[in-house]
């Protein structure tokens, strides 16, 4: 089976998100977006994997997050697995 893995990585709450703050300030400066409370900037990765089942794919994706893709000290992740064929 072929799967698409969507990984969203964001800074943990409590870690200063300088990009998010800058984007928030820009939007506020443009006017008309007074409703905006906060922007948080993260990272989005799409991985294509070929494996026998969804569980295997999830284990592999979590391994890749632990080994390289995510720094647990400052970041958190969410993983979504989609079957493509």
């Amino acid at each position: 089976m072929e799967y698409l893995v969507k990984i969203t990585i964001t800074l943990k709450q409590g870690v200063l998100d300088t990009q998010g703050k800058a984007v928030t300030a820009s939007l506020h400066g443009m006017g008309g977006y007074e409703a905006l409370q906060e922007v948080r900037v993260g990272r989005f990765l799409e991985l294509r994997l070929s494996a026998k089942d969804r569980g295997t794919v999830l284990t592999l994706a979590e391994g890749m997050c632990d080994d390289l893709l995510v720094n647990d000290l400052i970041e958190e992740r969410s993983i979504e697995v989609v079957e493509i064929r």
Partner: protein, 231 residues
Amino acid sequence: MKVAVITFPGSNCDDDVVHAVTAVLECDVAKIWHLDSLGERKDLIVLPGGFSYGDYLRSGAMAARSPIMKEVREHVRKGGLLLGICNGFQVLTEAGLLPGVLLANRRPGFICRPCTIRVERTDTPFTGAFTEGQVVNFPIAHSEGRYYLPSSDLDVIESEGRVLFRYCSFSGTTGDEFNPNGAAHHIAGLLSKERNILGLMPHPERTSEAILGCDDGALFWKSIRSWVERR
């Protein structure tokens, strides 16, 4: 003294380190590509500044997983000296050889300017030629230099005396106004527990010769040589 400087794709301060160490210590410095082997035993390995792997994913993340890092770990396990400057410091934290992480500067943007830092202790392989509390000028050039570690862990590294350099004023005072990037506890340089690994955001190789207007960095390299020769 045997020195090696490792070049990763995107390193750009490797030649500066080779030049500075060669000029100050008049010793041979090997420049080693990250896919090659370290070769004969070295006294000091330097991970230089730059933008390894284009700073993709996170600064230093992919260089930290480069094949040569296995040999680098073996080198430090045997007590060899390891120095990471700027991007090299980021590689050290990503490799788990030093705790913490270097985040985007408090005020976003690249800072490139002279910088004063205070030598916190002199009983280390890297600072024997300085005096305690001495203020030196090592320039900074980074956009991600804000040292971060959860506060309970900061207490641990402080109690272990592992902060070797702090950002400060010309007279040696620390304070937010003298901290260029918002680093926790004004940390500019951090030692490993065994004190043979140093991560440093400022660049000693850029102030190693009087012709550059300041040669404070020369004392840094001489400290290392003295320590190696005494072993």
